[in-house]
């Protein structure tokens, strides 16, 4: 019955975590390491490391990895991944329906104005949380970050191109 448990656990994680992947990690750790012991703590650290260095949303990456590791097959990965994504899809559909209905409402319009200021803060916070000694190992990291910002903000360099260039620069520098 591990498949059902994987699905329901990740569904719960998807439903009750706000603020995206990094905010979800402690919750995932609590459920899969402490509560169900599907993976050990050191395996979890590995999974997080892999999830951060592979493309795609971290929450989806780690759900897939944990689902696969704990069962040894694709069905487990599928159960965990669909579990973590389904609440998103349901809530977003509800929001969409609600907003299409009330988009002319002055309350909704004002709510949006307030929300946007809050969201700028949330995104800035997400960036700030990643400025850790593990991610910014030396002065070169800061220079890379500033150069990347300048090239994509003012010179509209494509983010995908930027990632490839950064990867190449990393191999040369380190």
């Amino acid at each position: 019955m591990i498949y059902l448990q994987l699905f329901s656990t990740f569904f719960k994680i998807g439903l009750f975590s706000f603020g995206g992947g990094y905010a979800m990690l402690p919750l995932i750790q609590n459920e899969v390491v402490t509560r169900y012991q599907w993976v050990t703590n050191s395996k979890f650290a590995d999974i997080v490391a892999v999830s951060q260095v592979t493309p795609g949303p971290i929450a989806v990456n780690s759900a897939t990895y944990i689902g696969y590791t704990s069962t040894g097959n694709i069905l487990g990965a599928f159960c965990a991944t669909s579990g973590v994504c389904l609440p998103s899809i349901i809530v977003v559909v509800l929001l969409y329906v609600f907003l299409s209905k009330f988009k002319e409402s002055v309350y909704v319009k004002n709510a949006f104005k307030g929300l946007k200021t809050g969201v700028v803060g949330l995104i800035l916070g997400a960036a700030l949380m990643l400025m850790t000694p593990e991610n910014f190992i030396d002065y070169k990291s800061w220079i890379l970050c500033i150069l990347s910002f300048i090239t994509s903000y003012w010179f509209n360099l494509s983010p995908i191109t930027l990632i490839f260039i950064a990867g190449g620069v990393g191999i040369i520098l380190y």
């Binding site: 603020g19 994504c85 916070g125």
Partner: protein
């Protein structure tokens, strides 16, 4: 149908090549949907970014699903959901099955030492795009800075920021327009 397929490939491509967080995908999503294809304008895109931050779950999936639904209805939703989730799913399975320990490979490690700060820069880009567009650059920028510090250094959940912003928006702008 054609539009839904195109949506699938756009999100599949973004999902395959963007690293780190869903937030780092935002500049690329905007480029593909707003700048290149004109499927929605920048203001609406920013509204959608704001809404999807207030939904639970992975932000990249929230954003993908909302955009898919808005641009091409239910077909669009299915296209963007699959497009944004499947690259992760496939890549992680390949790693788990075939390339265990890839995170310790020296070349990989070196590349990521530079990719991580670059990804942080990609998250900072929408901060300034949205701030500029909504007029919170300048003195008012202190508000997002305080929020960011609260989120980073206290265990406060982002959902409270979302709810407070909505309430303040309704009260503040409601009063102003009276």
């Amino acid at each position: 149908m054609y539009q839904a397929l195109e949506l699938f490939f756009v999100f599949f491509k973004i999902g395959t090549f963007t690293l780190g967080s869903g937030l780092a995908m935002m500049p690329q999503i905007k480029k593909e949907l707003v700048t290149r294809r004109h499927w929605l304008d920048e203001d609406e895109f920013i509204d959608i970014v704001a809404v999807t931050q207030s939904a639970p779950g992975p932000i990249a999936v929230n954003l993908a699903v909302f955009l898919g639904l808005r641009i091409a209805g239910v077909k669009g939703l299915i296209a963007t959901a699959l497009g944004s989730i499947s690259p992760s799913f496939i890549i992680i399975l390949l790693i788990a099955m075939l390339f265990q320990g890839i995170q310790n490979d020296p070349l990989f490690v070196a590349a990521f030492k530079a990719i991580k700060p670059a990804s942080v820069a990609l998250i900072l880009v929408p901060v300034f795009t949205i701030a500029k567009r909504t007029g919170v650059l300048g003195v008012k920028f202190i508000i997002p800075v305080i929020i960011a510090l609260l989120i980073t250094f206290t265990p406060l959940s982002p959902i409270y920021i979302v709810l407070t912003s909505i309430v303040i928006g309704i009260l503040y702008y409601g009063q102003k327009n009276r």
